[in-house]
Subunit: 283 residues, 2 copies
């Protein structure tokens, strides 16, 4: 099996020459060149990751969705264990790319995946966000329908970057995005749950959006605790009629929205229970 | 003006620890993390680039389209001049990203752009492609409509990567992609011109697709040589009625399609004239 060699020969970054032999693999990385890869963002608490098994499965599923082989799970677990020992409270990111290959959209055969594990400090969101709820921006940018990529947490995230540029108020940590039909899809970095009476509703993500692991865990929590949770289309009008809106991702856990689009929303009476359940590694 | 520091502290790539101080800027690059940037691909011939002024303008316009400042054009020209002196016959890539910032979709203020200039050997396409025409695959993948990004050559290119995976015949160097309405948009790496009698028609790219510099130059060549060239919607049926199909990009120049979707196409009688004109730096 011959591994194709990256073909970068001249490499200058910000006016400084770099050795293509040493740095060319990164410059030729298909994740960098085309966003050809997927990633996971994880919160380490005490060096451990709640719901790791789901993250591992999702990573493999997302790779498969864009035609990549499964990454070496044992290696990633070793990397995360070493990270957890060195830095027990952090936010980790696992990036899996199609590796370094020749120029062009065509993936060369036999190119090994690239697996990058990196970590940063947890975000410094005010404590009150979790306790008192958060305000949410209504994004004007409409998410494009691309069923071939819907649900996948891939590296093509310009829509989220553009949506996140629409507001700049530190008291508003998230914005909700809609599709071209006016259906609610996702927060820029989180999944949405709409609470109608005692029923949780979360948008179906078959045309756009990212289906996060934390969303999966909230759905599973609802199932285990005997609450109805449905996955279906959520037109904008439905948000106005809801009693509560929740946002989930693996870093924030879950937030409740106290104000959105000129309306006040309530904190569900079972909010603390859900928040606590999401810390349970076995969920 | 304080420049935000990248916050990567642990960095392991393919099982090997890297120094976050030395390599963290790259790992935290928003181009790598989210595809938050744009690029240009250029063919150097004798160290020079045909249509450079257009590329420079397009780079600035694409940056503006995703909310980035204009990159330092003088620096890029210096980089390209040095590259041209060192390697007169190559394919250069200029990548401009939103730089290295903290984790998250939000761009930090005062983050300098990253400008990367790299080069690879020209592709080894057979000489006969230009002379005898090429076969073209009909891609099944439908391009998503995203007017906010349409026309821009940004780093989110997974659609092209997926489309390029649909076939693997070295005799078929390109595939044509359509949108959800069945309108022809682009080749995976090139722009399309449909020849109807003596009129050139190229798809409008207001909802998806990349508006390449070579497309701009073909349009300008048509104008200067007194040929009609219109930019409008091109339904699939229109391709079957055309006498010729052309593909343009800055590396191939222009190709004519000899076979697509079960039909044979002709080489336009003015093909050599166009091909020659595109080598003219002043076009």
């Amino acid at each position: 099996m011959s591994v194709p060699q990256p073909t970068v020969r001249f490499l200058r970054i910000d006016g400084v020459d770099h050795d293509p032999e040493a740095q060319g693999a990164f410059a030729a990385d298909r994740g960098f060149a085309y966003g050809d890869g997927v990633f996971r963002t994880l919160r380490l608490r005490g060096g451990r990751i709640a719901g790791w098994a789901r993250h591992a499965r999702k990573l493999v599923a997302d790779c498969a969705a864009i035609g990549l082989a499964a990454p070496d799970g044992a290696r990633i677990e070793r990397d995360l264990a070493d990270l957890g020992a060195a830095w027990p409270e952090c936010v980790a990111r696992i990036t899996v790319t199609a590796g370094s290959g020749p120029r062009g959209y065509r993936r060369a055969e036999h190119t090994p995946l690239r697996i990058m594990v990196q970590a940063a400090a947890p975000p410094d969101w005010p404590e009150r966000f979790a306790a008192e709820g958060v305000r949410m921006h209504r994004c004007a940018l409409r998410l494009a329908w691309q069923p071939a990529l819907a649900g996948v947490k891939h590296l093509n995230r310009l829509e989220q970057v553009l949506a996140r540029r629409e507001w700049d108020d530190p008291e508003v940590p998230e914005g909700l995005t809609f599709d071209g039909d006016g259906l609610a899809v996702c927060g820029t970095m989180s999944n949405l749950f709409v609470v109608e009476g005692d029923v949780l509703v979360t948008p179906e993500l078959t045309r756009c959006g990212v289906a996060g692991v934390q969303r999966e865990r909230v759905i599973e929590w609802a199932r285990r605790s005997g609450r109805a949770c449905v996955v279906e289309a959520v037109p904008a009008a439905r948000l106005g009629a809801a009693s509560a809106l929740l946002l989930s991702n693996s870093v924030i856990g879950v937030w409740w929205v106290n104000r959105f689009d000129g309306r006040d929303y309530q904190r569900p009476r079972w909010f603390d229970e859900l928040q606590h359940a999401l810390l349970d590694e076995r969920l």
